[in-house]
Symmetry: C2
Subunit: 404 residues, 2 copies
């Protein structure tokens, strides 16, 4: 199992592209992405739990009902959500993509991200799709990763290589997601591809299982988006014996998937809107897994703690406070808390009460870009990790006037 460079085109038989078609005013920002498998692939997806669902999700859900897909079309700059003609536009996007690729519209995954509630004009997309299809290549995987970005500052692509049945397999992916991210589901948009052979039901099982510990443990701002979607295409071109049950190969596949999704979680959190720091809350010693997860998410979602981390202030009372209101059954008198970074670890609370610590050391630790908040519940064997970021002036700035 090793990380390799590349993203959505790292696996065999995938090509991609990303262009500026004109949805965005800024001509230097790509706004339309296409990912294609050379052959039809098994496919799985997880969608937002928000009752307000982007029209593309409805269309994608229909298309993936048979567990098959061959292409992903995605625009940024407009979420195509809460529009009277949203479904129609999403269907047109699939039809145009299918036409350009000579495949069935039912094998197209459609996604949109951006502002909610503004009609999405099909014209630039219609003009862009043939150009997009023409430029499909392995090298343009990065262009696709760029084209799905909204307020993201960093391109997010990850890939990993592993072995199944003596064959080298690859799984890679791209993500966009910077705001409106909260763990009621996946996160914004994640597109994964693999050449491993795995049946559609097992692919769905792998994805749903993984997300519970990765994208569902990620919060930038507590807002669960309307357009969240994680999809995975598996085209089987690695030639391994198809995974059809929860056996040894499935475990290897799960590990590969998890390696990619955890890394994407970290990249999304670290690139949260306005973020200057990646926060990782690691909860150990929980009696139940659910307790560990609930506590980790509560801590990572606390606006007060997030602001304190921005200020490199070891205000651990806010950690305790967030544990206390998480709703999880915790014996506060057994809780210990530490902050950790590459500069070291400082324990600040033991058995639910403060302990003396060097503010200077704490400051030095918290001035780093990646901070771990360690919470030991002292009550059992379970642990969980949640990812987030600090709350900064820039978050407010970015979201104070996002639409203009």
């Amino acid at each position: 199992m090793q990380l390799i460079s590349g993203g959505v085109c790292a696996a065999q038989g995938f090509r991609a592209n990303g262009i500026h078609c004109g949805i965005r005013k800024n001509r230097t920002k790509r706004d339309l992405a296409l990912i294609v498998s050379d052959i039809p692939a098994n496919a799985a997806a997880v969608y937002t739990t928000n009752l307000v669902k982007g029209a593309p999700l409805t269309v994608t859900k229909q298309h993936l009902a048979d567990g098959r897909a061959q292409a992903v079309i995605c625009n940024s700059g407009n979420a195509n959500t809460c529009n009277a003609n949203g479904i129609e536009i999403a269907e047109q996007m699939s039809a145009l993509t299918a036409q350009a690729l000579g495949i069935s519209p039912a094998d197209v995954v459609v996604a949109s991200t951006g502002v909610i509630g503004q009609p999405l004009d099909i014209t630039p997309i219609q003009a862009g799709i043939p150009i997009l299809a023409q430029g499909l290549s392995i090298d343009n995987g990065r262009a696709a990763a760029e084209a799905i970005m909204t307020t993201d500052l960093a391109v997010k692509e990850v890939a990993v290589q592993f072995t199944l049945g003596g064959k080298t397999c690859t799984l890679g992916g791209i993500a966009k997601g910077s705001g409106m991210i909260h763990p009621n589901m996946a996160t914004m948009l994640v597109f994964l591809t693999t050449d491993a052979a795995i049946s559609a039901p097992m692919l769905q099982k792998a994805l749903s299982g993984d997300i519970a510990n990765t994208f569902n443990m990620l919060s930038i701002d507590g807002d669960t988006s309307t357009n969240d979607m994680v999809t995975i295409l598996a085209n089987g071109m690695a030639g391994n014996p198809e995974i059809t049950a929860e056996e040894a190969d499935f475990a290897v596949f799960m590990k590969a998937l998890n390696t990619v999704t955890v890394q994407l979680c970290r990249e999304i959190a670290g690139d949260g809107e306005g973020a200057t720091k990646l926060l990782e809350c690691i909860v150990t010693g929980a009696e139940q897994l659910d307790t560990a997860k609930t506590v980790a998410k509560s801590v990572i979602c606390s606006s007060l703690l997030k602001a304190a981390m921005f200020g490199a202030d070891a205000n651990w009372g806010r950690v305790l406070c967030a544990i206390g209101y998480s709703g999880a059954p915790v014996d506060i008198s057994r809780v210990s808390v530490a902050f950790r970074s590459v500069k070291g670890t400082v324990w600040v609370c033991e058995n639910g009460a403060g302990i003396p610590f060097s503010e200077e050391t704490a400051k030095e630790i918290l001035l780093e870009k990646e901070i771990e908040i360690l919470v030991e519940l002292g009550n059992g064997p379970h642990s969980a990790t949640a990812w987030g970021c600090d709350l900064t002036y820039d978050y407010v700035k970015i979201n104070g006037d996002y639409r203009t």
Copy 2:
């Protein structure tokens, strides 16, 4: 029923004071408050649901077990929470207060607010309490209101006059609360006093019932404090026949209470940490009351919407989004949304989809200091209101380095 000036000393038989005793470094900031009834009073309280509870709450809960109290002592600058000797300090605070007033320690309500997890030194409090007691007066009600403030910018005091059994009664209160406020309970600290005669059980019933629609519908930042407490003392000095059942007089009392608490909610929300605007989300047309409340709270808690309001940006998609992830059963296709202020009303969404509106008009409306977000669910007779504020640079600034 009419609003009158004053707060915690508006009702007959209450005196108060607030001084700087030395808990805070800033000598111009009062940090110790005392409220006293001339005679023992019936008392009721509601406490935070946070599992991490400030030591003062534990002590107060014991003292109010008999439904009686005569004094409230409260310091700011230190929450006396998550400290090894917290209970001991809180008990000392009551004992010292009782001694200075010649009453029983069991008749003292103790409260603390400020930083969590730093030992609270009793020395300045010990020195301060006799001075505090000596200066008790009706005029010093405002000094008490000042002394309980932390990051609050505005003093919060409200009072109302009403009639029960031909007697003029008064109910007033003070509040502090600016951050770490979320509707899982009351809000930070609210001390209410009245000269109405009402039995302890009915007083508790009135308070608990009222809070469900007022302080529990208030969120500044989604963080439920460890030290939230709302208490009310009723000394009966107005001479009305004691309220002992849910009859007509009880309804009048509830209305008086609600008038004061709603106003305090608005003042707390408008003075939220860093806030430039008071936000009020009014949900109508819900099939169930719970749905209306859940939706109103979800909207008022959305960081993205709060940031948009700071930027006076009519980004209604974020309102729909927050409705969608609230967890309440809502038919999105029937939802309408408007923004309202003294400058007028602009409808921005009907039947779950955007409608054309003048951005100029919307901007003008949203540039005001008090904004109503109207959500019509189109599905029934129930309504609810939640209060909050915008998310600003200053919120981040205030909380990025609160301890120093």
